[in-house]
Symmetry: C2
Subunit: 393 residues, 2 copies
Amino acid sequence: MRKNKADHIGIVETQYFTFACPPDKFILESNESIGPVTLAYETYGELNEDRTNAVLVLHALTGDAHAAGFHEGQKGAGWWHDMIGPGLAFDTERYFVICSNVLGGCRGSTGPASLNPATQKPYGLDFPLITIRDMVNAQKYLLDHLGIEKLLTVVGGSMGGMQALQWVVSYPHMVASAIPIATTWEHTPQQIAFNEAGRQALMADPNWNNGDYYERRVPEKGLSVARMIGHITYMSDTSMNEKFGRRTKDGEKPFKFGPKFEIESYLHYRGYDFVKRFDPNSYLYVTKAADYFSVADYKPIGKLLEGIKTRLLVIAFSGDWLYPPYQSQKIVKICRDAGIDAKCRTVRSHYGHDAFLVEFEVQTRLYRRFLKKVKETAFGPEGTPPIVKSFYG
Amino acid sequence: MRKNKADHIGIVETQYFTFACPPDKFILESNESIGPVTLAYETYGELNEDRTNAVLVLHALTGDAHAAGFHEGQKGAGWWHDMIGPGLAFDTERYFVICSNVLGGCRGSTGPASLNPATQKPYGLDFPLITIRDMVNAQKYLLDHLGIEKLLTVVGGSMGGMQALQWVVSYPHMVASAIPIATTWEHTPQQIAFNEAGRQALMADPNWNNGDYYERRVPEKGLSVARMIGHITYMSDTSMNEKFGRRTKDGEKPFKFGPKFEIESYLHYRGYDFVKRFDPNSYLYVTKAADYFSVADYKPIGKLLEGIKTRLLVIAFSGDWLYPPYQSQKIVKICRDAGIDAKCRTVRSHYGHDAFLVEFEVQTRLYRRFLKKVKETAFGPEGTPPIVKSFYG
């Protein structure tokens, strides 16, 4: 039933916004600069007259701007199709939902595969290192362009959750609330380690050629292994047991070290499927941005969070061992210590880190209730002055 | 203090036992056969007159026969140095301890890097697939050679624990007791998945050359990535936080995607250190053996365990997420359901899967007490008839 409702979004088109056109520059956290910068984005629903119903949805590591609806002539729906649409968690009859591909990505936004205006060739490794803060700063340009001064909420899972947290500390006056999902206050050594193993697998592929492969063979094998590693961390022991167990693949007499178990074939499929849609260099840049992420890298936490009025609903999943619930609880503790209205909800789920892309019903309940309250307190109901109180009692 | 005692083992030498010399053959579980087969092994302590004090120690995936003492002119002690020696858990003043490198390995035992007598070149991928059962069958030849009819105990962690379990079902009359540590009844899809990601990383290295690299360049990068993946799974989120946190390496201006965090440098070091001592093809064969491992693949469990009198002490570590405690508990449940005297002890530890190579004190206490009781009941004290009772009450 929810699926049918979501289908009402129907056909959508990705749009493109370009800024920092020379002689303008987009200054990065590293003090390097690039320009022009393009962000691919999609919107669902209508912005209301007083511009108080905008929701910014932020994607994870390898996601894109296509969060809901369908592209003309294509079967697959957007990556959060079950959460965005008429009557859904992010109800497009009430909210104006925006999703943009991150800076450094490869799905329409400027990244290492984009043309370097200085050389008229893809940037490759000449693309500067970018950070989560840079991604958020670029999104700020997009919101200015769309005429949005304040977001009802900013929401995202995994690396999307890092961006949501970064929005809260970079532009607190622009975000009435935030919903960081299955994420962390700072990337931990284990999270860095998995990313680094993936990067090393990719860079070990001779076709990677120090990032210069755009007119040659793509480092398919390396990127595929990186993705396999990622996929293992997105699932859980339990979900793999349920989905695959020790079932083997039938078929022709296999190569000695070919896939024998279904889990192996599944990982191969996910690896090679990924190669079709993702730029290997982008994989390096976005994983590095996640690894560098630590909200409080620059200022003492008290100073950083001083005066922030944004409300936070932080979501964790019990079976997520890559971004375990204690990391969400830590976000909430830090925020509360600074007087910020924040609450953590841990959703019981077997689905590991992927749960935010699977557990729709409970997320829908949580986010609808939260947004309703945020809307009342952040902008005031029907023209009454904002109610200033904590809604967590 | 324990270290000093262990040093009393002093200098040891690896020995070699060769069997299945043509026209003899060693028949594998796959029905393929090889020969001659050599096992590298070491022994510590003395076999007593009635041959009732032998302990077989089994190593993990990439271990070797050198479990204790020192090799002439080398600094590093054996891999379980703190557990084997005078007064230690496996007290060499009481027990005769044997450790052998597995079939398929590369540390002195026959494996894919050994000379194929048919071609006088290294086997490479002509080496047949081997299983945990094959490893155990080869060890049985070694014990026959050493004149040991019954082991006081068979003990090992991780893949060593799989071999210990296999000993129990393959040769129950030869093992008075078994101590499977941090292991599983059957390899799970998650465990298979991590191994497969490592194998794919290795085989993606063009220097691997379909296993034929013995007179060329070794697939260093691929094997190194495989080892990095392994190392992440051997540690825990907590132990990585404690050991590395988000500390960065100082030094020269680094390559954009070079190691920045200490955890990254550590993984690089472990990866390249491994390349020096391990044959890439062996890595494929031993991980595949672990993946195929399922004790009850052939017979109904009841039939398989019928009449087994071996006592089991199964050890898990609370922070081991690669072989989580529930898997040890499952071993014990299955054994108890079949009337086997088995007990699981879960040791609290932050060290992840590596804990069996780190947590010496508590392991020492547990194993000494267990062995004392096994010795009383399995062979009878000082010539009295064996006491037939459960020592778990």
